[in-house]
């Protein structure tokens, strides 16, 4: 549907593109067909990233594909030892309905924006934006999540590390949509922390997620806002796993030595590839990561020690 030429609102900001076509499918099949017919149509979920770009006139799409009427995207269900999280589930619902299965993602979700943002915004949108500062992303990587994407007539699933390929770049083809995320149910404590310039509504300067698998005695870390993509820290993972094994801490459920925590923080910081930008310098990010990594591990380990 073609609208009239650009109009500028009272604040001098454009409220959208010229002749914006607005597509409102009510099923996923219809949405994928529309995406195939209009590969340039920009998907709209909670709009908390997209509408800001539109209001600032940083983006003038020819067409938008509203995903908010598609029930299939707003559902989640458990299957095997995974949760299949529809791309359109809001953070508010994620926290209240599935937080117990996905504690790391729930902790991160609670830090995103404000209640008004969490009522609209989705994990699918965080993945769509693929910002290195996306707070839902480190917990997904640490938990070993897989992303399910689909186009008309086909779908594929890939590990998170194959999905996000650069700052604001992902493996999604123009005719594809993000459909769901498959996240293993937590097999032990998970934690997340982030550093910003103030407490609320900020873009992370550095973030860190950690998942403990109490069964296989494995620990996985993920680093956000300190590289072109969300990063793993295999050296830190191996170091902490073997120190816990050698000291017998898994069975004794004993505290982790300060020297071990410190070394762990250093290895995480060394695994990061931060840049200097308006939000922080490279050195600050590295320092902050060492601190929050040690702190996050302590929180998760406290949870492990308290668990029977």
């Amino acid at each position: 549907m073609a609208g009239p030429a650009n109009e500028v609102d009272g604040l001098g900001r454009c409220q959208g593109g010229k002749g914006l076509e607005f597509l409102q499918p009510t099923s996923l099949t219809e949405a994928l067909e529309l995406k195939a017919a209009h590969p340039g149509a920009v998907p709209l979920a909670g709009g908390t990233d997209l509408m800001v770009d539109l209001n600032f006139d940083r983006l003038r799409p020819e067409a938008m594909l509203d995903l908010t009427r598609i029930d299939e995207l707003k559902q989640w269900w458990p299957h095997d030892d995974l949760i299949r999280l529809g791309a359109g589930v809001s953070y508010t619902r994620l926290v209240s309905e599935i937080g117990e299965y996905l504690p790391g993602l729930a902790i991160a979700s609670r830090t995103i924006g404000s209640p008004q943002i969490r009522n609209r915004a989705t994990v699918g949108g965080n993945l769509g934006t693929s910002s290195p500062a996306g707070d839902a992303l480190p917990p997904l990587l640490a938990a070993g999540a897989e992303i399910e994407v689909a186009s008309a007539g086909s779908s594929r699933r890939m590990p998170f590390r194959d999905f996000m390929i650069g700052p604001k770049k992902n493996a999604l083809a123009p005719e594809e949509l993000i459909v769901a995320v498959h996240i293993p149910k937590a097999r032990g404590p998970q934690q997340f922390s982030k550093i910003g310039t103030r407490n609320a509504m900020v873009i992370s300067v550095a973030s860190f997620a950690l998942a403990i698998d109490a069964g296989t005695r494995a620990i996985s870390c993920a680093i956000g806002s300190a590289g072109p993509v969300i990063l793993e820290a295999p050296e830190a993972d191996e170091f902490i796993e073997s120190s816990l094994e050698e000291s017998g801490a898994w069975d004794a459920r004993s505290r982790i030595d300060n020297s071990v925590l410190q070394r762990f923080g250093e290895l995480v910081a060394q695994g990061a590839r931060p840049i200097t930008d308006v939000r922080g310098t490279k050195a600050y990010r590295q320092h902050a990561l060492a601190v929050i990594a040690a702190r996050t591990l302590t929180w998760a380990w406290d949870d492990y020690m308290a668990s029977a």
Partner: protein
Amino acid sequence: MRRVSLTVNAVEHEAMVEPRQLLVYFLREQLGLTGTNVGCDTSTCGACTILLNGKSVKSCTVLAVQAEGTEVTTIEALAQDGDLHPLQQAFHETHALQCGYCTPGMIMAALDLITNNEDMDEDEIRTGLEGNLCRCTGYHNIVKAIQQASSEMRSFATK
């Protein structure tokens, strides 16, 4: 242009809107409900907070066409027959506003908080208001007003 039908403050409306029209401008300009303010247009300040199907959202980042079939509540729905809502009364009594620009958004955000959370302490109220900025009051009296209104609304509900 597109047709949308939605319920605003318990009144059904049908209107033609441009697909790019923001919900806040639809409310203000087409329905004349100017109680909802625009402070930033970028989802930061919270002045435009309304309830969409009972949940607080920032109406500067929702398109009017997306509100099709929804129930919208704005600040205008709160006072009944000239009687202020307990939240409005508490804001008045505790001096929780100066210029008043943030107030409609604060009250709508607070309404969602009070409805969805039992007995919030000061910290929880402050965290719950993280999406609403006030340049005048320093928040202290806003928190007090919400505490007062919250206990009044609860005792009223249990009577």
